[in-house]
Amino acid sequence: MKPRLLALGDGALTLEFGDRFDPALNARVMAARDALASLKLDGISDVVPTYRSLTVHFDPLRLDREALTRSLLEAAQAPPQESALATRWLIPVVFGEEFGPDLAEVALATQRSESAVIEALCANELRVFLIGFLPGFPYLGELPEWLRLPRRVTPRAAVPANSLAIAGGQAAVYPWQSPGGWHLLGRTPVRLFDLADAARPALLAPGDTVRFKPVKRDEFLRLAADVEAGNSRRGDWQAT
């Protein structure tokens, strides 16, 4: 499918690479985002990458729509590559028990052991395809086919903040306590949304990669206390 431009009103343009969920399309979205960012155009307020598209919110009285159209179609040609804007993260997670109340159920549903489920989640780098639903809420993928589960029949009224959850072949971490229908497998001490960093309040940005690292309860509690006391920096969670 050739990339095409769609009008989202007179103040936004969407560059659509396709209408499916496809990591290959997402790689092209991120490449286009990087290419557009390098142009440093005036009059753009937000650039929002999704699984399959890139939307530019702009002020049409400051930035000529035709000029933006040309820039976007050119950016659409950028070859997928390691993004210069992407960061690799290593996020500690404590699995099971009260931190991941659905782990046993997920193991049962997939006919694997709990440790096999944890291993599968932590084996590979996952990509941040999209941030949405709530500020800082990442959609991470892809999970192995056998771990692809529909959402819970009855959503929880309150998922605890920092919960690692899976549904539909994707993983996410809830930055806030909120209602949610995903399966809760564990919890991280890492804050996914922190107003102390105004330049980038959300830890994860689209295009970043995340690898989860299982930690024991003691380690989790120690790290969580450090975060609470302000003794940790965001750089601590970057992969080396």
């Binding site: 009008a7 007179d10 969920f21 937000d46 929002v48 999704t50 399959r52 949405g132 980038r200």
Partner: protein, 347 residues
């Protein structure tokens, strides 16, 4: 310092919004009617982007703890009570100097929303560059929540946090109230026009829709004709970005017009998007009110944006000093205000 005595309907602080964070899932937020916010600030002698109180249907009752000057943008039935219990009407579209211990009853609001600005500005922390309240994630405003009785609002002196006393009194008024257009809402087709049958598009253009009660700062849900999806496409898309003004249609065929607090992405097809120039009107829509839509070209939308910007500038330029503002009843009698929303019709 201002103390909130009563607050029964949703009221929150809003400014021009919080751009630059939508890729991180942070909504734009900001005033539902950015034009009236500009006017409120101009009447209060403030820079255009200063945060003001956005009120819905019924404004709060508040007491000035120290002398302050406030400005009202909107069609309130406001009055001021002095310390001796004497009450006087407070005109709209003008500033009012409140002495210490005077009480402002903002009253009911025609046209859905209105703004209260204070000379010098409310002393609120900027969160990600904005003081706009986004309650769902607890951002901005007062501790990220709506206004409530008992809140004490500090007022800055010339934009600088200080003793909360505010600046010396000013007196400004707008000679003629801005007029809300009552024509059909102008839309640009798409981005997912092809997800709908031609019959659905024709209904969308030809028929009347009613604003439902399921309406808040995130969006307006409309009752009326069903907008059917083309079975070849269905009613779901892989989520892409949305924006205030986008008209999403879920599987039930009932459109939702997204507003300032809408999420950054969504999984429903968008049949069309309300143009920027007509966005301020959406904030005034009340349950029961009817809406119509008309398709325009991008060129027409841009021309409308330029015209709206020019008219707003002209309106701000027309502000004069002195006087007590005009009387609402006289205005109704003269039929100068026949805005898009009629409170009588809005059950």
């Amino acid at each position: 310092m201002i103390e909130i005595l009563e607050c029964t309907m949703p009221a929150s602080f809003q400014d021009a919004g919080r751009p630059g964070y939508r890729h991180l899932g942070v909504p734009l937020s900001g005033a539902l009617d950015p034009e009236w916010l500009v006017i409120a600030n101009a009447l209060a002698g403030n820079p255009a982007g200063t945060a003001a109180l956005e009120m819905h249907l019924l404004g709060p009752k508040l007491r000035a703890k120290t002398p302050v000057t406030i400005a009202l943008a909107g069609e309130f039935s406001a009055r001021i009570e002095d310390a001796a219990g004497q009450s006087r009407a407070a005109g709209n579209w003008c500033s009012h100097a409140l002495a210490a211990d005077e009480i402002l009853v903002t009253g009911s609001l025609r046209n859905g929303i209105g703004y209260l600005a204070v000379h010098g500005g409310f002393e609120l922390p900027a969160v990600l560059g904005s003081r706009s309240t986004y309650a769902r994630a607890g951002l901005g405003g007062i501790d990220g929540r709506a206004l409530k009785a008992g809140d004490r609002l500090k007022v800055m002196r010339s934009g600088i946090p200080g003793d909360g006393a505010g600046d010396a009194a000013i007196s400004l008024r707008l000679p003629q109230a801005p007029r809300l257009s009552d024509g059909p809402l102008r839309v640009i087709a798409g981005p997912q026009r092809e997800y709908f049958t031609d019959a659905a598009w024709q209904r969308f253009m030809a028929e009347e829709f009613t604003v439902s009660r399921e309406t808040d700062r995130m969006g307006l849900r409309l009752d009326g004709p069903r907008l059917d999806h083309d079975p070849a496409h269905g009613a779901d898309i892989v989520s892409d970005a949305v924006t205030p003004g986008a008209i999403q249609v879920p599987g039930d065929g009932r459109p939702i017009i997204l507003l300032a607090d809408c999420q950054t992405v969504g999984g429903y097809p968008k049949i069309a998007t309300v143009i920027g120039a007509d966005l301020p009107r959406l904030g005034h829509a009340l349950p029961g009110q009817t809406l119509r839509f008309i398709e325009v070209s991008i060129e027409q939308a841009l021309a409308a944006r330029r015209q709206a910007a020019a008219e707003l500038a002209k309106c701000v330029d027309s502000i004069v000093s002195g006087g007590a503002g005009f009387n609402l009843d006289a205005l109704y009698a003269a039929n100068l205000i026949d805005g898009v929303i009629d409170a009588q019709q809005a059950n």
